[in-house]
């Protein structure tokens, strides 16, 4: 989660890594979410090709694994940008101009929420509360929190 995700240009799928992760975590009670998190973190996304491998190791149907990947907002089906910018769009942040901030960020990065800039630098994501509601509007860049967020501070954050 923290740290830059893999670049969008390269194909980050690696069957051996998926198998190693799934074999390593299968002994947990309810191992599927920890496995998907680990794959998502290590490879930048949960590739379609990872699904049958994980299903086999956990003795689940592909449909079950697929259904879980699709249900949760965190598991991405395609690689993300090098920087993940999460912007809170929930009520406390709305009360402090969070929506104006959100639409200016769409302009600055030139993509709507949920998408990655063409140069693969930034993925813009909407989140609903980061638990930093007393210092709203709030954002998170590559897992690092930004309170009283402004366009300038976010642009500076992804320039690093």
């Amino acid at each position: 989660m923290a740290g830059p995700a893999a670049a969008s240009s390269s194909d980050t799928f690696d069957a051996a890594v998926v198998i190693e992760i799934a074999e390593g975590l299968r002994g947990l009670d309810g191992p599927l979410l920890p496995i998907l998190h680990a794959v998502n973190d290590r490879l930048g996304h949960v590739d379609q090709r990872a699904v049958p491998l994980i299903a086999d190791i956990l003795n689940l149907s592909r449909a079950e694994v697929h259904g879980v990947v699709g249900f949760y907002h965190d598991f991405r089906r395609a690689p993300a940008g090098r920087h993940r910018v999460q912007v809170c769009r929930a009520e406390a942040c709305q009360a402090m101009g969070g929506e104006a901030l959100a639409s200016r960020l769409e302009q600055v990065f030139g993509v709507p929420f949920g998408q990655t800039t063409v140069d693969g630098r930034v993925t813009l994501e909407a989140v609903y509360c980061l638990g930093n509601c007393a210092l709203s509007p709030a954002a998170m860049i590559d897992g690092e929190p930004v309170g009283r967020a402004t366009v300038a501070r976010i642009v500076e954050g992804v320039a690093r």
Binding site: M1, A2, L28, D29, G30, P31, L32, L33, P34, L36, H37, L58, E64, G67, V68, F71, Y72, H73, D74, F75, Q86, A90, E91, A92, C93, Q94, A95, M96, E99, S103, V127, Y128, C129, L130, G131, N132, C133, A134, L135, S136, A138, M140, G143, E144, P145, V146, G147, R148
Partner: protein, 517 residues
């Protein structure tokens, strides 16, 4: 050596605490002064973050909010000896916002080093667990029942009754599950404790395990809280290494194990049955009740599922006695509540007080009005499913029944303040939209109704057939309230209807383009 306290809490970090700590370290080194850093959690006075504290004979003195650029001037002013400075706040305990609180659950948060079990114990930690180890399970459950503690996650269900059900349920294997999903906007108390006093949760869960005969606990932490998750994982490892967890808790011969698990970005996984599905590795869809989780919960076993604050309050109840806790509060709302002030508020932060302060006292006396300096127009209490209230209702005391009687709820204790620029029609639209985004999809009133609700609100905002569409929204709200399987669909009408009832003028404005998304 002088001890300097700088929060490592995510909110403090979000406004530069790391840079401040680095600047203090560099400046101290340049001046040849030896300082020891303690990276605490936050005291919860967020407008003062980063709040730097220095150990002084009379107690810690504070400076805040401090920027890295101001650090040199702090040294010049002799802040390590409590010197005067524009950022000086005096003794932290005397800051009125803090001095007027009754901290029980948050007694140590922002004070102790959250990485140190020794510090935890030195500040009164583990007393509750030691007391519990000397009691039989029924006596622990009785103490929790007598304290009057109700679940702090939202519904306010009596904790003692839940625990008794699990204690009496047959089965060789039982579980404790801590709900640290904290998805409500305006709430951050769970996050603060995870980051600022994680051993308190370990202690509370171990006590719950002893009380009901459960050998294993899971903490389900939302993925939006990466710092909290890492802190909790570290605390569990430290606790295990110290024999606080494992086969022989504190040498008692009793066993309790714990694991932290990460959610994956789904608000609905805060609902208890959905959370259990998620822990088991499935889509977070709601389970029909009955059976209650207390009878058939995680992996089909009897399970206590409680909110983090609920579990973290239990150690104090066992350490100081049920009566001490029960004796504060009002009506059937006993003890203290960590209230979280957020949004457009001057003094956003955590206020732990006995139930019974009025909403107005909280927003005005603690919160100090809005951050923008404009008049307060609305507050939303209890998260995205809570009601929007006008200032006319500021005389309502903060407690479960009084809020319910006026068509609201206190939920997890979050209060979001809005100034007079808020448009309640847009907020009502957002309530539907949020429900549409986060619906688990199991039942039609919620899955479809929320989408229709947002569409209808668009028409109202655009000035299209207003009266007919307002009637439609109210009908839809009735269907969602009565026909939804869980409270996501069932309570989405609360923000919508409260906005309609208390702010009708916002639904009758000249037509405007909808920019809400």
């Amino acid at each position: 050596m002088i001890r300097v306290f700088v929060p490592g809490d995510a909110a403090a970090l979000s406004v530069g605490a790391e840079a401040v700590a680095a600047a203090i370290a560099a400046e101290a080194a340049a001046r040849g002064i030896a300082v020891t850093f303690v990276r605490t959690g936050s005291r919860g006075l967020f407008w003062l973050e980063p709040l730097v504290e220095v150990d002084r004979p009379g107690g810690r003195v504070g400076y805040g909010p401090v920027t890295a650029a101001e650090v040199r001037s702090l040294f010049d002013a002799g802040f390590l000896d409590g010197g005067a400075h524009a950022r000086a706040l005096g003794r932290v305990e005397d800051i009125p916002y803090l001095a007027r609180q009754q901290r029980v659950t948050f007694a140590r948060c922002g004070i102790v080093d959250p990485a140190s079990l020794a510090d935890y114990e030195a500040h009164g930690g583990l007393k509750g667990l030691r007391a519990a180890l000397a009691m039989d399970p029924a006596a622990i459950v009785a103490a929790v029942t007598e304290s009057g503690l109700r679940g702090r996650g939202g519904a306010g269900f009596p904790t003692g009754i839940k625990w008794r059900t699990v204690l009496e349920a047959a089965g060789p294997r039982k579980y404790i599950v801590c709900n640290a999903d904290e998805g409500d906007s305006g709430t951050y108390a769970d996050r603060m404790l995870l980051e600022g006093d994680p051993f308190l949760l370990v202690e509370g869960m171990a006590i719950a395990g002893l009380a009901v005969g459960a050998g294993k606990g899971f903490v389900y932490i939302r993925s939006e809280y990466p710092h909290a998750f890492r802190r909790m994982q570290a605390a569990i490892e430290t606790a295990r290494a110290a024999g606080l967890l494992g086969p022989d808790i504190l040498g008692s011969g009793r066993a309790f194990e714990m694991e932290a698990r990460l959610g994956a970005g789904a608000y609905i996984c805060g609902e208890e049955t959905s959370l259990l599905e998620s822990l088991e590795g499935r889509r977070g869809q709601i389970r029909f009740k009955p059976p209650l989780p207390a009878i058939s919960g995680l992996f089909g076993r009897p399970t206590v599922i409680n909110n983090l604050i609920t579990l973290a309050t239990v150690p104090a109840i066992l350490a100081d006695g049920a009566a001490a806790y029960r004796d504060v509060g009002t009506g059937r709302s006993r003890g203290t509540m960590p209230i979280q002030l957020a949004g457009n508020v001057r003094h956003g932060g955590l206020v732990e007080r006995a139930f019974g302060l009025t909403l107005g006292e909280i927003v005005e006396e603690f919160g100090g009005g809005t951050a923008t300096g404009r008049p307060v127009r609305a507050v939303q209490v209890g998260g995205p499913l809570g009601a929007y209230w006008p200032t006319d209702l500021f005389d309502v005391p903060f407690e479960y029944e009084a809020f319910a009687a006026r068509g609201g709820m206190i939920g997890h204790g979050g209060i979001v303040v809005f100034d007079d620029t808020v448009d309640l029609a847009r907020q009502a639209r957002f309530a539907f939209q949020f429900c549409a985004i986060e619906s688990c999809g199991k039942c039609t009133p919620c899955r479809i109704g929320a989408v229709r609700g947002a569409e209808t609100m668009d028409k109202i905002i655009a000035g299209q057939d207003r009266d007919a569409n307002l009637t439609l929204v109210r009908d839809l709200c009735e269907v969602m309230r009565d026909g939804s399987l869980c409270a996501l669909g069932g309570l989405t009408p609360m923000p919508v209807v409260s906005a309609l009832d208390h702010f009708p003028e916002d639904f009758d404005r000249p037509a405007q383009a909808c920019a809400a998304d």
